[in-house]
């Protein structure tokens, strides 16, 4: 398998990263799908009768794309960051630092694997939610675009966090104080139009808001801001993070003393 599919250093590293989460897919794919389903059960039960969004949209239907995107973002971050911190703490990162793998290949392998896992989780969540609500896909291309960009942004951020953190609790802090607030305060559970003006303003500085809003547009064809606007912000975030991460890797920050 390994031999037939992949030759160079990049391909092997990418494949290894895929296998790493796939071998424990119960924790890395099934568990996040279950978590998202629990959110859906609880929130839709509590709010379905009371909340309507964009005029006529039922709350459960509104919630699904947000939950899918949240799962994508969190799992992308989790995949690259936990893989790197584990390799660093156990010391086996040395085995990918010794071979002739460029820093670009290194980056691509970790981020692409993060995207693959996040999309698998996303598809899993979508599949499960079909039991709760009928889904429609107004603009599938936008759905895919935002899923990939979101996975790429958080996969990159995971690489940065995994390289920066020396210990697991530093990584947990990164997750709790940056990733969680960014994703929760981004309109996963509500349309930001329902927020007070101040918080609406704040949300507009959160790049994750645009990823979720654009992703949701792909389903309903309605959103808080225009999908092109969201695309521009999301894509710009991706570029900035990719540049930052590649710069870390090129300098060997914390990896090559």
């Amino acid at each position: 398998m390994i031999d037939r599919l992949f030759g160079g250093g990049f391909a092997t590293l990418f494949y290894k990263e895929l296998l790493r989460f796939w071998k424990v897919s119960f924790q890395t794919v099934a568990a996040p799908v279950l978590t998202a389903m629990l959110y859906l059960l609880i929130f839709s039960h509590v709010l379905e009768e009371r909340v309507q969004v964009y005029g006529t949209l039922a709350y459960t239907a509104f919630l699904v794309p947000g939950l899918v995107m949240m799962s994508i973002l969190q799992n992308a971050f989790s995949n690259s960051s936990s893989s790197l911190i584990q390799s660093k703490v156990t010391g086996n990162i040395i085995f990918v630092l010794l071979p002739p793998i460029s820093y670009r290949e290194f980056y691509a392998a970790y981020v692409l694997a993060a995207i693959v896992r996040s999309v698998m989780v996303g598809v899993g969540v979508l599949a499960v939610t079909t039991f709760f609500t009928a889904l429609h896909f107004a603009h599938p291309l936008w759905i895919l675009t935002f899923a990939l960009i979101g996975g790429g942004v958080m996969g990159s951020l995971g690489v940065v966090a995994g390289i920066w953190a020396d210990k697991f609790d530093q990584l947990a802090a990164f997750q709790n104080f940056l990733i969680m607030p960014l994703t929760f305060l981004s309109g996963v559970f509500y349309s930001i139009h329902s927020l007070p003006a101040f918080w609406q303003g704040v949300s507009h500085f959160n790049p994750v808001f645009y990823m979720i809003d654009g992703f949701r547009y792909g389903f309903f064809g309605v959103s808080d801001v225009s999908p092109w606007h969201s695309f521009a912000v999301a894509f710009f975030s991706l570029l900035v993070l990719a540049a930052l991460t590649l710069n870390f890797l090129r300098r060997g920050y914390k990896l090559r003393g």
């Binding site: 160079g8 250093g9 156990t90 085995f95 010794l98």
Partner: protein
């Protein structure tokens, strides 16, 4: 011929600590080279610099003529490193580990070579065992195997036998010797000086980030330490002053160095002429341990 390893003026500082203080070293292709020095001398830092794991503050390093920074792909393709610390990926089996390592070096279909390495390191029976299930010695063997998957012409082993059983040491050295005979250049660091003495044709000794001795093993044994007469004196006997100046004594045991066996007669005659009765007379051969201690003491002074 291009040197297997060329190290030019390499310096590395960690805060206030000068880990490497301007190292110059060349290792010839096909050599079995020993890198010795006490803990903290900078051996691992030097090896890490060669492997691109550490970036020196100044100086340059080449593997088979390839600069480890500028031509890092070729340099790394030509280098196999067995790291000092035992590390492994608990997700994978021995064979998977070796297949991945081959893949990182861009090698597909490496099974025949992997099987050969496994056989030579007595790992065949463990090929499908998970890395977690292996003993420390077994993990060390896998690390040696990992360093060899891409058949590197230059192989560097950083204390490969530290804390490892006698059996592995012998298996390992037989294999490494054969690789050396097949033309691979070997660089070795070890704390077992007798190991270095019997394996290495040339040796560099490091202390506090400097090369303090560099010569063939034979020359080091010849020049640095000498043979010695060891003996005790009977009650009341004293050495004649000219011999006393050459000799050292601790706990009643005298050590009188000499260079050539022809001197033995002269020394013994001089002692008996002075009326000394010798007890427990032994002739000590120099070994690398003496050389090492000599060199390290000298540089401390």
């Amino acid at each position: 011929m291009t040197p297997a390893i060329r190290i030019h003026q390499v310096a590395k500082r960690y805060g206030a600590l000068q880990a490497l203080a301007g190292i110059d070293l060349e290792v010839v292709q096909g050599e079995f080279f020993g890198l010795l020095g006490p803990n903290g001398a900078g051996k691992t830092t030097l090896i890490s610099s060669l492997a691109g794991l550490v970036r020196p503050d100044s100086g340059s390093l080449e593997v088979m003529g390839f600069d480890v920074q500028r031509d890092y792909r070729d340099a790394r393709q030509n280098l196999g490193v067995v790291p000092q610390e035992i590390v492994f990926d608990p997700f994978f089996s021995v064979r998977e580990t070796l297949k991945f390592q081959s893949g990182y070096f861009g090698i597909r279909n490496n099974d025949a070579w992997i099987d050969e390495i496994l056989a030579n390191l007595d790992l065949t029976a463990k090929a499908n065992a998970n890395m977690r299930a292996l003993s420390g010695g077994m993990k060390r063997r896998v690390m040696v195997a990992q360093a060899l998957v891409h058949r590197p012409p230059v192989i560097v082993l950083d204390e490969p036998t530290a804390g490892v059983d006698v059996e592995l040491r012998q298996t390992l050295w037989a294999f490494i010797r054969r690789l050396n005979q097949d033309g691979h250049t070997i660089v070795l660091t070890t704390h077992y000086l007798e190991e270095a003495e019997s394996l290495c044709s040339r040796i560099a000794m490091l202390k506090a980030g400097r090369v303090v001795a560099l010569d063939s093993t034979a020359n080091l044994l010849k020049t640095q330490a000498s043979h010695a007469l060891r003996f005790r004196l009977a009650e009341g006997d004293v050495l004649p002053p000219d011999l006393q100046a050459k000799a050292t004594q601790s706990g009643g045991l005298w050590v009188l160095p000499f260079v050539d066996y022809s001197e033995i007669g002269v020394l013994v005659d001089a002692l008996s002429a002075a009326g000394c009765k010798l007890m427990d007379l032994e002739i000590g051969k120099p070994d690398l341990e003496d050389v090492f201690l000599d060199v390290m003491r000298e540089r401390a002074a």
